[in-house]
Each structure stands twice: as C-alpha cells, then as structure tokens.
C-alpha cells in the first residue's frame, strides 16, 4: 500500500503504522527537494489551501505556509484576531464562506479540542488539524518521530521520555500515539499535578523524578508549561518548577550516556531548559523545524492526491 488510509489528518489516533511509514518515506523525498537550489515543485499548482488559525502560532503557521508554497499550492491565510469571528460568526459559517472561494484543503488550529473533527463532519474539504486545544497536534508528533528516526535510524525500541506539562499538551498526546505505533517505549515525566490521571492506560510509564527519567531514556522531549491553558495553579512557582524539572548542563553531564534533546517550541529558556542545553550538540530543535517543512509537504501531497480533479 502506498496511499494513506485516511482522507483527513485529524489526529494520529486515526492513523496506522503503514500511514506513518508512507508519510516518512515521502518526507525523505521532500527533504531532498527543500535542499535543492530551487526548492519548489509544481505538484499542487491547481490546489488552494486555507490556513485558519484561531489561536496564535509562529512555527506551525510558517511551516505549513512554506510547505504549501514549496508544493506550488495557492495559499490563503486567515487569523481569527483580524476576522469576522470577532463579530460573532460561527466556525461552520466562517469555513463555508471560505470554501465558497473554491478552497480544496483547510489547515486549522483551534483552541477547542475536537474542532478539526467537528469541521470534517460539516464541510466538504480535506481537513488537516494543526492543533486542537489540548487534544492533538499530529504534524508535530510526525515530525518528532521523523527526527528521532533520522537521528537514531529507527524509532522502534527506543526509549522516549516526554517531560513537562503533559496535562495541557496536545504535543504529548499525539507523540504518545505516534511513538507507540512505531514501537518506541514511552515515559511521561512531570509534577503529578500536570500528569493526566489515566495516562498509563495508553501504555506509557509515569515518572516524577527527572533524573531517573533522563537516565532511562534515549530521547527527552521537553515541553513548555502552558500557562495560557491553566485556570488554577498547578505548582507553587515557576522557579520551583524549573528547579525540579528544568534541564541544565550539570544534569546532562551527570548522566551515564548521551541523550537527544527535543523541544517542539516555543522555548521558555531558563524554565524547562537552559540556553546552554537548547544550543548544545545534544539538542536537535532546529532539525525538528527543518523536518517539519518536509513532513508537512508529505502530508499535504499525500492528502491532495486523494482529491480528484
């Protein structure tokens, strides 16, 4: 099989292992394309894609936009803060108005979990979820697993710990699904107040001690504390969080092995990781950003191939 089992990318939950491998193999080719002197291919010249961002984003939005442009698609950018959403328009009305302009594909980020799923049930276009609340962020998980595969040769059997605010993180959930599908061993680590109650049901280990988690893993994926999603206080202070769960050079040096450090961004330097770690040779944060473009090109290309002309 060389085609995806789905027509939309709503979450990793709906993909199978074969889908992930197809996406990675296609991304390998696109990584070659974006490193050529001319980084553009004409495949999607008759496809129009709308990027709907109902929540702030820098990296994901730019990454999607450049991926679409590298594939020669026409691109519409929409951000909720400058739109009629502020005047009370519903999501379906907004999207249907955009679709009337003959748009084939929607890339959407939304603060509410399930927004992409809801949209795919009500509108006739290919939907890509670019993050829905604290639910899923499938393209981030794909680029994270792709980066591990690139660095370590394979994801199967590798030990990956996700450290930080697991409770509010869509990156954590999507990563758990993707890593488990690919055969990795997954652990989550953070203060108990930021670990969801039944997370072990997903087949992941739970650890509250940072040093133990780091000594166990091959890869540490550091997450930001999502203050914007917190209505109550989950830990006494940022300083205390940083002392307990912040990754510093002395901690990294004290480990008995070399580990890979990942971060989906944006980084709060000095909170979850220090600048020294973020800029060290162990960190592959900028590789993740480059791989993000190749992965998004692959997903858009594979889903667009299912839109009949």
């Amino acid at each position: 099989m060389s085609t995806l089992s789905v027509n939309h990318l709503l979450g990793i939950k709906y993909l199978n292992k074969n889908d992930l491998n197809i996406i990675f193999e296609t991304a390998d080719h696109f990584k070659g394309v974006i490193n050529r002197p001319i980084k553009k291919v004409p495949s999607l010249r008759d496809i129009t894609i709308a990027n709907l961002f109902f929540e702030n984003s820098t990296r994901t939005k730019l990454s999607f936009e450049i991926a679409e442009k590298r594939l020669s698609a026409d691109v519409l950018n929409f951000s909720a803060s400058q739109s009629s959403v502020k005047k009370g328009e519903t999501l379906i009305d907004t999207v249907n108005n955009i679709l009337s302009m003959k748009v084939d594909m929607i890339v959407m980020r939304h603060p509410n979990a399930g927004a992409a799923h809801f949209l795919h049930q009500h509108v006739n276009a290919t939907i890509i979820n670019a993050g829905d609340g604290s639910h899923e962020h499938p393209t981030q998980a794909l680029l994270d697993s792709y980066s591990i595969r690139e660095k370590l040769g394979s994801v199967n059997g590798k030990k990956v710990v996700i450290i930080g605010d697991i409770l509010h993180s869509r990156v954590a959930l999507s990563n758990i699904y993707a890593l488990k599908l690919l055969g990795a061993k997954v652990m989550v680590c953070g203060p108990q107040s930021l670990i969801p109650k039944y997370i072990s049901d997903l087949g992941v280990l739970v650890e509250n001690d940072l040093i133990k988690a780091l000594n166990w893993c091959d890869v540490a994926n550091m997450l930001r504390v999502q203050n914007e999603r917190m209505e109550i206080s989950y830990f006494p202070s940022v300083r205390e969080y940083s002392q307990q769960y912040g990754l510093t050079k002395p901690i990294l040096d004290s480990l008995n092995k070399d580990i890979i450090i990942m971060h989906p961004g944006p980084i709060n330097r000095g909170v979850e990781i220090t600048s020294e770690i973020a800029d060290s040779k162990n960190a592959i944060i900028l590789d993740q950003v480059e791989n993000g473009v190749a992965i998004r090109m692959a997903i858009i290309y594979l889903l667009a191939s299912k839109i009949k002309s």
């Binding site: 060389s2 080719h29 002197p37 001319i38 553009k40 495949s43 002309s309």
Partner: protein
C-alpha cells in the same frame, strides 16, 4: 495476450555499443557532459552506458545523475495510480553543462516534459539531449523526439513494450505484449 521479442540479449548489447559511440561522436571526452538517468527505469540504461564508456571506450570522466520526476508530472490527481517517488541522486549543478537525458522507452513524451521542468531545479544547462532505447513512434502527446534512439517501434495504444535488464530480472531483453481486445 501474446508476447513478441523485439530485441534479444545480443541485439541489446550491439545497440548499447552503437549508442555509446554516437555519444562519443558528439561529446568527445565528456568533460562538460552529464548523463542523467530518468528514474526509475532510465537508471539501468544510464548505468550500463556509463560502464561501457569507461571500460570499453576508456572515457575517464563520466558524470552521472539520476533524476526523479514524480513531483513534476502532469497527471497528479488524474489517475487512480498513486505516484510513488524514487530516489533522486543529483550531486551537482547542471549550470552551463550539456545534459543527456536517458530513459528506456519514449511513449507519450510526458515524462520527458516533466524532466525538462525538474532539471531546472539544478541550474540552466547549455543544452539537453534525449537518448532512448525504444522509441514508440505514433504515440506522442507532445512535440518531443529523441536525439539518440536504439530502436524505433510501431506499437499501438493497447500494446505494451517491456524492457528487462540483467540487473533487475537476470537478462537483457525487450519484448512487446499484445493484449487481446
């Protein structure tokens, strides 16, 4: 379904030598020439010609690349077949170079059109030529003709030309398959 052999092992070998000699006639020492095999099937022919040029005709400097044209094709979303890319190995810039595209069968000409667009990603070549083992005339959709051809074949739409190589199936052979209507 019937199968007719168009070229046997010996005939393929003779044609390869002739094509190599024709290339030498135009490109002499190949110092400013790059052979580009079109993926996936042009790779075998390109490699074979490169080996002949080096071993039998003592050409020292044969540069070769393999170009994948999948993302440049004009039938994306137009057929049920999924377009699967092959590996792309172009380790050089073609700016100011003489490029020779190499493929096994020239049919509609659409792959060559895609290759003409794809090669632009690597610079502006001074010239582009086309070398083909089998030229299926009367089936072109575009005004594209080869500069070097192994054998011209009159095949109609429902007939299929199959090129087998030692490297992939154990022997060199070209045959025509006729499907019953």
């Amino acid at each position: 379904m019937s199968k007719k052999v168009l070229l046997n092992n010996k005939e393929v070998n003779i044609i390869l030598h002739r094509l190599a000699c024709q290339l030498i006639e135009i490109h002499t020492d190949f110092s400013n020439t790059i052979l580009v095999g079109l993926q996936p099937r042009g790779k075998y022919l390109a490699n074979r010609l490169k080996d002949l040029l080096i071993t039998d005709y003592k050409i020292k400097n044969v540069q070769i690349g393999f170009l994948d044209i999948t993302f440049y094709r004009d039938d994306f979303r137009r057929s049920d077949k999924v377009l699967k890319p092959s590996s792309n190995q172009m380790e050089f810039i073609v700016e100011g170079k003489k490029v020779v595209f190499i493929d096994d069968v020239l049919f509609t000409g659409r792959s060559i059109r895609a290759a003409l667009t794809a090669i632009q990603s690597y610079g502006r070549p001074i010239s582009i030529e086309l070398l083909i083992l089998i030229d299926r005339r009367f089936s072109r959709h575009l005004p594209i003709q080869p500069d070097y051809r192994g054998r011209q074949v009159d095949a109609i739409e429902h007939e299929k030309v199959i090129v087998n190589w030692k490297e992939s199936v154990g022997k060199d052979e070209v045959y025509l398959i006729k499907q019953e209507l």
